[in-house]
Each structure stands twice: as structure tokens, then as C-alpha cells.
């Protein structure tokens, strides 16, 4: 694709010589947009490549938000189905990952609402999901940590935990978090800060007891 996307033409800070990491990110973003264009035209290879590129990321995002692998699998599948259906109308306005995780975040929100109605959690389902288990003991400790983190996250409101996950694990800036959550940048920032403070009280308190 030879055309330079609009968001890099307008705005401040776009220098002629880009950092290698920034250049790589640009190339990745172009690839995403091109794949979505291909998917909109019905190309099966675009579907394969998008899944290869983003399956792990969407799955981990949903698993952290919902604390359940089964739920994450459902949400991930639904997310990609929506990507497929919306592909013909996809207009690259920002980062593809932000658009993708907005879909996933909304589905997680719906899922958690339904889940609260059914009042079921399935953190136990996390057992046996890691494909490459090297050291059993270390792996068990890591899984335990994952459980603790998810349990603490589940004690926050869904908004606060989503904001923390987007910031800490996805590395999103407050502007992108605001886009995903449909709130102002200030609200996004205060959600992240409050969420992390609450986690400090929840996880930090546990540490002191140990």
C-alpha cells in the first residue's frame, strides 16, 4: 500500500526520519489495514493471518478481564466473528488493535453482566491451558499468581479492571484507553490510577500477611 494513512500526515511529532521501532509499528499498522481491506473482499488468507497475529492477544485480554479460559474462548470467537462481519465497512481511523480490543472489551462487559446474573466464576478452568509447560513448580507458581491477580481484579469494578489491563498489559496510552472505553482521557486516567491503588490494597495486603 503506497498511500500514507491520514493520521500520520496530520498532527504533531511526525518526523521525516522515524525511529526503527516506530517505523516497524507503522509497517505493522499498514499490514493490519491491508489485511482488513483484503478480508472485506472475502480473502481467506487475510482471515488466517489476522488470527495468527491477534488470537493470542485477544484471548489473553479476555482471560485476564474475565478470569476464565472458557469465557475467554467464547469472547475471542465472537470478537473475530464480528471482525469478519464488519470488515467490508472497516475504515482505518486509528490503530487496528484499539478497534479490535474495543470489540473484545464490549463483549467482556456483556459477558460479565450475564455472569453476575448467573453468579458463576470458573478460575479453575485456567488449569492446563499453557501449551509449553517447562518447569512444573515454577509454572504452578505463575498460575497461582495469575489467579491471585484475576481474583483481585474481579473485586474491582469492571471499568477499573479493564482500564488497568489496557494500561498495564496492552501498553495503551490514556487516549487509546479512553477510545476503547468510550470515556474522556481524564476518566481513563483516573480509572487506571484508582484501579491500581485498589489492587495495591488488595494484593499488597495479602503480601504483608504472608
Amino acid at each position: 500500500m503506497s498511500a500514507v494513512p491520514q493520521q500520520w500526515v496530520a498532527g504533531w511529532g511526525a518526523s521525516a526520519v522515524r525511529e526503527p521501532a516506530a517505523a516497524r509499528a507503522d509497517a505493522e499498522a499498514q499490514r493490519d489495514d491491508w489485511l482488513m481491506q483484503q478480508l472485506g473482499r472475502g480473502a481467506p488468507h487475510a482471515l488466517d493471518e489476522l488470527v495468527r497475529r491477534y488470537h493470542q492477544r485477544v484471548f489473553a485480554f479476555a482471560a485476564r478481564l474475565l478470569g476464565s479460559v472458557e469465557a475467554a474462548e467464547d469472547v475471542t470467537q465472537e470478537t473475530f466473528l464480528r471482525v469478519l462481519e464488519r470488515a467490508p465497512r472497516y475504515a482505518p481511523k486509528g490503530k487496528f488493535a484499539v478497534w479490535l480490543l474495543t470489540i473484545a472489551a464490549n463483549l467482556c462487559k456483556d459477558y460479565r453482566k450475564q455472569q453476575r446474573r448467573r453468579a458463576e466464576t470458573s478460575l479453575d478452568a485456567l488449569e492446563g491451558t499453557e501449551a509449553d509447560v517447562v518447569d512444573v513448580e515454577e509454572e504452578a507458581a505463575r498460575r497461582l499468581l495469575f489467579r491471585r491477580v484475576c481474583e483481585a481484579g474481579a473485586q474491582l469494578s469492571h471499568e477499573h479492571w479493564t482500564a488497568v489491563v489496557l494500561k498495564h498489559y496492552e501498553g495503551f496510552g490514556y487516549d487509546d484507553i479512553a477510545r476503547v472505553m468510550g470515556c474522556s482521557v481524564g476518566t481513563a486516567k483516573s480509572r487506571v490510577h484508582y484501579g491500581l491503588k485498589r489492587l495495591r490494597e488488595l494484593l499488597g495486603a495479602e503480601d504483608e500477611m504472608q
Binding site: G42, T129, R143, L196, R200, L203, D207
Partner: protein, 148 residues
């Protein structure tokens, strides 16, 4: 600054988001206050715990399942799109045929000098409309095909 206020700033401090002046004032307070230092360490431990918690990985079967469902859905979408296009083509053909036949019937009653230009205009209009409709049906703008 009071401990209360510092406590609210500790996340921003740990994330290195404080402006220089507030950062310095927080540092000064931390140097003098053991309980706020303890809170900062708890905050740092929390961030470390988040970082060390592993990313759940989907199994290869999950990926196979996902791809199977997606390809199935894609085939359905493409099939529906093809049917819709066929329907439009049928409608378009019908409209054109009706236009031509009524023009020919009309020709039976009207003087050729009036009719000939009218027929030409009708064909032109039909052609343009048909072209536009087909372009709309093809749907997608013709953009650069190059793979990045």
C-alpha cells in the same frame, strides 16, 4: 504535603507520571515518612505482581476451532453476497428488457424521425444506469492492490 495526598499520588509516582515539581515534593515526603515509603513499596510490588502473572495462551485446538468457525462464516457471507448480486442482475436485466420492448412498441405508433433519437437516448440512459448499478454492486472501491 500530607500523607493522605501523597497516598493518592503514589500510583502516578510509581508510573513516573508526576510533573517534576510534584515528583520532587513527593520524594521529599517519602524520604521523611516511613509509612508512605511502605505504601510505595506495596504499590511497586503490585505492579511487579501484575507483570509476573503469565499471559494465558490459547491451545492449538482452540485456534483450529476458531479458524474452522470463521472460514465457515466467511463462506456463508460470500454466498449471501453472491446471491444478492445475482438478484440485482436479474432485476437490472428485466428493467432493461422492459424498457427496450416498450420503446419498440412505441415505435409502431410514432414517426421514425421522433423515435430514433428517443431510442438512442433510452439506450444511453439504460447503459449509464446499468453501469452505475453494477459498479455499486461490485461495492468496493478500486484501490491499490499492492501488499505492504
Amino acid at each position: 504535603m500530607k500523607c493522605n495526598k501523597i497516598s493518592n499520588h503514589l500510583v502516578a509516582y510509581a508510573l513516573d507520571e508526576l510533573p517534576p515539581r510534584e515528583r520532587q515534593r513527593t520524594q521529599e515526603h517519602l524520604a521523611a515518612c516511613a509509612s508512605c515509603r511502605a505504601r510505595l513499596h506495596a504499590q511497586e510490588r503490585t505492579l511487579a505482581a501484575l507483570s509476573h502473572a503469565p499471559a494465558p495462551t490459547p491451545t492449538p485446538e482452540m485456534q483450529r476451532d476458531l479458524l474452522r468457525r470463521l472460514h465457515q462464516r466467511q463462506a456463508e457471507i460470500l454466498e449471501a453476497r453472491r446471491r444478492k448480486q445475482e438478484r440485482w442482475e436479474t432485476v437490472l436485466f428485466g428493467v432493461t428488457a422492459a424498457g427496450v420492448s416498450s420503446a419498440v412498441t412505441f415505435a409502431g405508433f410514432t414517426h421514425v424521425r421522433v423515435l430514433l433519437p428517443l431510442l438512442v437516448v433510452l439506450f444511453l440512459l439504460g447503459g449509464v444506469t446499468g453501469g452505475l448499478l453494477l459498479a455499486m454492486l461490485a461495492g468496493r472501491p478500486r484501490r491499490s492492490e499492492g501488499e505492504p
